[in-house]
Subunit: 268 residues, 2 copies
Amino acid sequence: MVGHPFDAAVALQPLRDGVWQGQTHPAYAGMVGPFGGITAAQALQAVMLHPQRQGEPVALTVNFCAAVADGSFEVHARAARTNRSTQHWLIEVQQQGQVVMTGTAVTALRRETWSVDEEPMPSCPGPHECAAPSVLPPLPFTRAYAFRPIQGHWPEVWDGSGETSLTQTWVRDQPPRPWDFASLACVADVFFPRLFIRRATYVPVGTVSMTVYFHAGSPQLERTGDAFLLGQARAQAFRNGFFDQTSQLWSDQGVLLVTTHQIVYYKQ
Amino acid sequence: MVGHPFDAAVALQPLRDGVWQGQTHPAYAGMVGPFGGITAAQALQAVMLHPQRQGEPVALTVNFCAAVADGSFEVHARAARTNRSTQHWLIEVQQQGQVVMTGTAVTALRRETWSVDEEPMPSCPGPHECAAPSVLPPLPFTRAYAFRPIQGHWPEVWDGSGETSLTQTWVRDQPPRPWDFASLACVADVFFPRLFIRRATYVPVGTVSMTVYFHAGSPQLERTGDAFLLGQARAQAFRNGFFDQTSQLWSDQGVLLVTTHQIVYYKQ
């Protein structure tokens, strides 16, 4: 049996203390260079592999500094501070000695506490009641996911219309794969640029910075398995070359697993 | 005339290339050590002062690694990557050679483009129709702001009740001061821990990571002046020791200036 493309994509080879080598993977190619989500996952994976890591990811911020070229890259991960229950990481992804991504992560030992989801899963049909999309964008990585859109998928007509940037869609890895922290970091970036949804207009765009908060620990991820997640994304403001995106991912049982935010450059 | 306490608090003295020294300021003290917002502002200020800086802040992420002790600290800021219109910064705040905050920032040259606010300012009474709060929390930095709360201010009764973490409040510097990027980074952290609002229960809390997106450039800030901003904050999930907070700050003219997110440790 051949391994899952995601496992191949996040496979890192140790080079020296705190430095790993990875390779871009054609299954996660974007428009130009790799899909940003996979680079975020590779960055987080270096933390996951680090022998000094304590606990599980709680927060990840990645900054997309430059286009990643197809081929090999280095991930540098360093614990800047280790406390009793939290640990702070600095991450850099480099190609030819140039920084292409910077990042920070927080890992923590989590304990059971009083807990409540305040943002409820939107009421919507289940993943098996929703049809696969009739249009898939010309981006190879979108074939690495199964989408079951409810609203706000890739525009079918690019006519400049639109009143909202809201997307709601079920999504899972294709083929299915049990969710883990790296694949959650990847899927956090799966929502198409809000500007395309809001305006049905194509302009050059690129994510500049993305932050992912993990509300799920390993026991919750085990309960979630490889099921479809409900993803929701919308913009709050488009202003003078940058728009934001605020997103949530719930398990099919209605548990909020991830909240994530990004800011995206756009040209016009 | 004596300068504004905020200017004194973010004053940094150059030590060597990319390194500044600052001092904690009693006007911005929190429960233990300084208010997190002022440390974020001091971190951003090093970028603002850096001779290689291009453009204005678009994104800032700060990670609170350890309690900051009262006294002096060093801020280290370095441009990891400079592109034609964006620049990526790595920031560390240190005390006694130990990292107490890590951060990243993106600055950019902004151009006028198609723009729209998708998240409208909530309908609510104006700042001069709202009363000053009857209760102020026992945190010195709250005296550095004028609050005109609409809902979800510091609980008057700590009885374990509550159904929502939503806060809406007008807020400005006290005494008034024209808003700039550093003071926006500071006020982004002004909302009390969502857990206090949601549960009316006191438990130990501490922000772990905060991200600020600036949707306003200098011309917009000039139009905003020193007016009250409308702030809104709520949590999406409280789970096993960490909750998130998602917030917006609008000008009194209804322009969305800042969207910000944080993840906060809590004990029980």
